[in-house]
Symmetry: C2
Subunit: 204 residues, 2 copies
């Protein structure tokens, strides 16, 4: 038994992970141990530690980069189960909040707190090209900084954000013949012009 | 060694899962074995089997429900690493495509093929309330139907969808003091009105 076990982050089920254990978790899910995911793990930990125990919560990520995966790895909230919503604000911030009341905690990287952390500051504000970055120095600074570069605030999520839209009644799109939510209108969104494909045809 | 091993789905690393093995995987990630995730596993399997081997691919889910998690569980593509994009079309369809060329495979649930599958048809088109649904009958029909309710087509993803936007140059928002992508304008999107919070204040 180690004399002191100092976990980097905890998950929503009470599990605790050293840096190396968490590195393995994020490598296996995210593909590589991105600096943003190490910070993200600490952010989730900080939010979890400020939530009342035993409540069901939902999550918000204010960026599509890295943070959604820290949330998906450490909490029951995923994109596909609807408990995680991603806002493409490009802000390094996340929230965990009570599903019913919307009250919760938001944790963000505070730019004012980066001044003492040269490597994190250069990485976060892209002051030097990625190829010239000293990866080991950056990681080691992230581990020393821990939650000192973060801030936690109480938030109340807007009631409109608490209702899940769901699919509702389905319709068959007269153009593609596929099913879509009737409330989207007379055509599915893809046929209405938002399709990401320029070609979409049956294979032999 | 079993006489016949008939996997429900395969993952992108060559792993193969029986229904029960896949059920465990989705329970641990998604929280519960949703019918949509069983079908989603078969959809990912069908798309993977039609892609050339050894190419790096990205993924699209055309709904935020269930399918993103089938993709995240069975492929390297996640929301946080940017290899999975979610379009909120409410369409039960996904694509895997070559990162470089955009050529790939789209798999969708074909409403025309549901007529012979009463339970799946009722579930998918919400013909009976969730509480009255016979869950076992639905699952057993999903397992018997397999890929017979699906269709695969070749797709070419629009070149604009292949370029990753990235955060780009960062700015400090004059209202909240946090960092955001300069290209979003003079304020961060949250301060510009899109914030999901009605209250956002420092804790003691």
């Amino acid at each position: 038994m180690p004399v002191s076990f100092n976990p980097w982050c905890r998950d929503a089920w009470g599990g605790a992970y050293t840096i190396e254990q968490y590195r393995n978790k994020i490598e296996s899910f995210h593909g590589y141990p991105a600096p943003g995911l190490f910070i993200g793990g600490k952010m989730v930990d900080m939010a979890l530690s400020r939530l009342p125990e035993g409540r069901l919560f939902d999550a918000i990520s204010e960026t599509g980069n890295c943070l959604p995966d820290a949330i998906q790895v450490l909490t029951p909230c995923t994109i596909g189960n609807g408990w995680l919503r991603v806002f493409t604000f490009g802000k390094f911030a996340l929230s965990l909040y009570d599903k019913q009341t919307g009250r919760g905690v938001r944790v963000y990287l505070d730019p004012e707190k980066l001044s003492g952390w040269k490597e994190i500051d250069s990485w976060f504000f892209r002051k030097i090209p990625k190829a010239q970055q000293d990866r080991d120095a950056l990681e080691s600074e992230i581990f020393r900084a821990g939650d000192q570069i973060l801030e936690a605030v109480a938030v109340q999520v807007h009631p409109a954000g608490l209702a899940k839209a769901g699919v509702g009644e389905r319709n068959i799109c007269p153009r593609c013949g596929e099913s879509y939510p009737l409330r989207h209108g007379a055509l599915c969104r893809a046929c209405a012009g938002a399709s990401p494909y320029i070609q979409n045809e049956r294979q032999e």
